[in-house]
Symmetry: C2
Subunit: 225 residues, 2 copies
DNA sequence: ACTACCATACTTGTATGGTAGTATGGAACA
DNA sequence: TGTTCCATACTACCATACAAGTATGGTAGT
């Protein structure tokens, strides 16, 4: 009889955590910003306890740095970490698409094709936000077809350090048609079981989509370590 | 004038976290065990707060599962997660050793050789514990030489799910001489800049060192999901 | 003018009591 | 015998109070 969905009503900790995370990733809370348990608890209207527990989680993900008895600060961007995140993503995505060329469920292949169709429509509408979602879903579907969803989850936590902002995203925003073409070629390679092509396209795809950090470092030096 | 080292005196949270983690990984707290904030706080002699915060960290690492208002339990071993952890480790270690064959600092190569010498000595002494440490240090040194220490750190957190115990370890214990021989060949391949050999040996090395889970699943079915 | 000191207002760390949801065992009932 | 209900004893969640370390600005002494 529970056809009525429970009210979302996540725990206070979850709410605080999710919102802080969003604000950090969107640079609404820029690197270096001082946080404060008390201040946060007041603005969220909860006690310090759930705020503290959120800080513990964020600290473990490397998004904030807690200095005992001094304060809690949004982490500066660590270029080495960003580069390694890119490295890991490249290696794992290439390995998985090679797997996909060995065996891939037909039904997931259909999902890729549906996704490509949706990408064309979103491009026509210049709906960038939707394109981001579809881009992510496209890659996710490949992992799904290879039964590597845990790997995908790990990659997502890496991405936290890659797109610590829409800054990095904005640079790629204007290359949608290029990225779409690569997606097309990937899907085709999986159909053709052509691992070599798939691997090559994926490598290009991922090296292109990551911008040179040095530019950002010049523009926002105080955001970096 | 601070030539005297500070007493370690980690925070209560850190202490509780580290010990719980150890006990879970060593199967001293087997999968499925019910934990309790209150019980843990009593046994550690601290209040529930640092215990709760430890639980938050452990939950994020997937070592415990918190069911609101029901209890906190040591996570069951997820075979899919274990297999994917193995997969990720293989891909990343192979990618890094290929990098090492392109360029590797002479000084780190010396470290590898010193490590190999120490491995020979430990094998002679049948010092398994030391061999584990040296094995780990060997792989770590390769990552270090490629400036991929963050990647190594990520791998370490994967390993949590791989060796959720010395059970898996024990199986490999008797193959030290084989593993040592592979280490030798890896170091040689790095010296020779022979990426193909290095990649092949590393692949064998990692597929061999991981035991078939199904055996463990048979023996301890209630530890698995 | 400069330095050492110290009160004060922060910060995070820890302890504890109360709240609400959940499992369980026994009693009442069919 | 089998089922339903409910008191009770748990659980994690949250709020609050206190403890302890740190930065800062003012003040007294040199």
């Amino acid at each position: 009889m529970d056809q009525f969905r429970m009210p979302p009503s996540r725990s206070a900790r979850e709410t605080v955590y999710a919102q802080l995370r969003d604000r950090i990733l969107s640079l609404d809370l820029p690197p270096g910003t001082a946080l404060s348990e008390k201040e946060a608890s007041l603005s969220f209207g909860v006690s310090r306890t759930p705020v503290r527990e959120s800080f513990v989680r964020l600290a473990q993900e490397g998004l904030v740095q807690v200095l005992p008895q001094r304060g809690t600060f949004v982490s500066l961007i660590d270029s080495e970490l960003v580069e390694e995140a890119r490295f890991m993503r490249e290696q794992l995505e290439r390995a998985v698409i090679r797997l996909a060329c060995e065996s891939f469920p037909a039904e997931r292949l259909v999902a890729l094709e549906d996704n490509l169709r949706a990408q064309r429509e979103s491009m026509a509408r210049q709906d960038d936000k939707r394109m981001f979602e579809l881009d992510e879903a496209f890659h996710r579907t490949i992992f799904e077809g290879c039964r590597k969803l845990n790997t995908w989850a790990v990659l997502q936590s890496m991405n936290v350090h890659l797109n610590r902002s829409r800054l990095l995203r904005l640079v790629t925003d204007h290359a949608w048609s290029h990225l779409y073409a690569q997606h097309e070629r990937m899907a085709q390679a999986i159909r053709d079981r052509d691992a070599e092509t798939a691997d090559r396209v994926m490598k290009e795809h991922l090296t292109l989509s990551i911008t040179d950090l040095s530019m950002l470092k010049m523009k926002y030096p105080h955001y970096f370590q």
